[in-house]
Symmetry: C2
Subunit: 206 residues, 2 copies
């Protein structure tokens, strides 16, 4: 974590990636409102001026974190998907990996899923929404694949994907890490219902 900048042992974290890591942890611990640029600079052992050099304000810093988290989500889910066989397995892996990532850092997830509500500059906003679209499209593609292969019946992949991601995003609203079920276990039960309802041998007719 020690900066390679010569001469100043006080500057332990003046690179953007390190600052993002420190800020992310503080936002997760104390929330957006409860974290000041001063707190972040102090924790990073740099001056506020040095922090300003990289991030003009708290909002810009926060939004960069959102974009980074979304990219990490895409990367991890994509990597987990590769070995999967059937579309059912792919949907399962996509959702369970997402639940695990959420469990590791519920606050980061919350920041990501709330970000689209908060006002943000057009560039960061486009970067965040672009990544969220890629993430959602990954899931829709898995569902569409299952429909094409005859594994799933003809549901709308966008609607089925929304159903699963809605359940995922609402976890932040009610799930407690101290609760009876882990997010992974809750997701297993959601998948049990939704995948059974999408299978070719199920029927959407009442």
């Amino acid at each position: 974590m020690v900066s390679s900048k010569a001469g100043s042992s006080a500057q332990v974290a003046d690179r953007p990636s390190q600052l993002l890591e420190i800020a992310s942890r503080l936002f997760a611990l104390h929330g957006y409102a409860g974290t000041s640029l001063r707190d972040i600079a102090q924790k990073a052992k740099i001056t506020k001026a040095a922090l300003y050099y990289h991030f003009p304000n708290k909002e810009a810093l926060y939004q960069q974190i959102v974009v980074d988290n979304l990219q990490a989500l895409i990367d991890r889910v994509s990597a987990a998907l590769q070995p999967a066989g059937t579309a059912t397995e792919k949907v399962r892996i996509f959702m369970l990996t997402s639940a695990d990532i959420y469990s590791e850092s519920p606050h980061a997830w919350m920041a990501g899923s709330n970000a689209f509500w908060s006002s943000m500059g057009p560039e960061i906003r486009a970067a965040a929404i672009g990544r969220r679209d890629i993430y959602e499209k990954l899931l829709r593609n898995c569902i569409a694949e299952g429909i094409a292969s005859g594994e799933f019946r003809k549901v709308d992949p966008a609607i089925a994907g929304r159903l699963l991601l809605s359940a995922m995003n609402q976890l932040t609203r009610w799930h407690s890490p101290k609760g009876l079920l882990t997010a992974h276990e809750v997701m297993e039960q959601y998948l049990d219902i939704v995948l059974a309802g999408m299978r070719a041998d199920s029927s959407g007719k009442r």
Copy 2:
């Protein structure tokens, strides 16, 4: 709408129920932050002092609206449920009525579902949470009924209910009244998948 108070034609709405109606509309149109007590008093044609008499601050007014909206939701869903026959029909009616109520006033729904996040006094909070619990329990009971009757397989009614209500609550995040599908139509598609996945002849095994 004219107050029965003698003598003052300027006072057109000084009863709490009328004030709540006016405030609710303003909050829906301009959001919480965009609505001041002054706006509400002006629209109600009463003095700010008269408004303060009923509601000490904007927060108290807003929270009363949340409680009222939740009660109206319970009343309407309960009334719609009565004629229903099977558990499948009851779950459908519960969710489709909820989707219709959401469509009528997305902002009021949003206020209700966000309320549990905002800080509020313990009494109003208990009133709001108590009503939300009644609402959620109504749905869980319909699901449990279907399991008892053999209509549904043995899913966890709490988890299945969460799945449907998560999908419902997330509508506020992405659904546009100008979009291709109404909230009712989206809910029909969610129900198509979830009910098929809960039916006794479906299977949760992979």
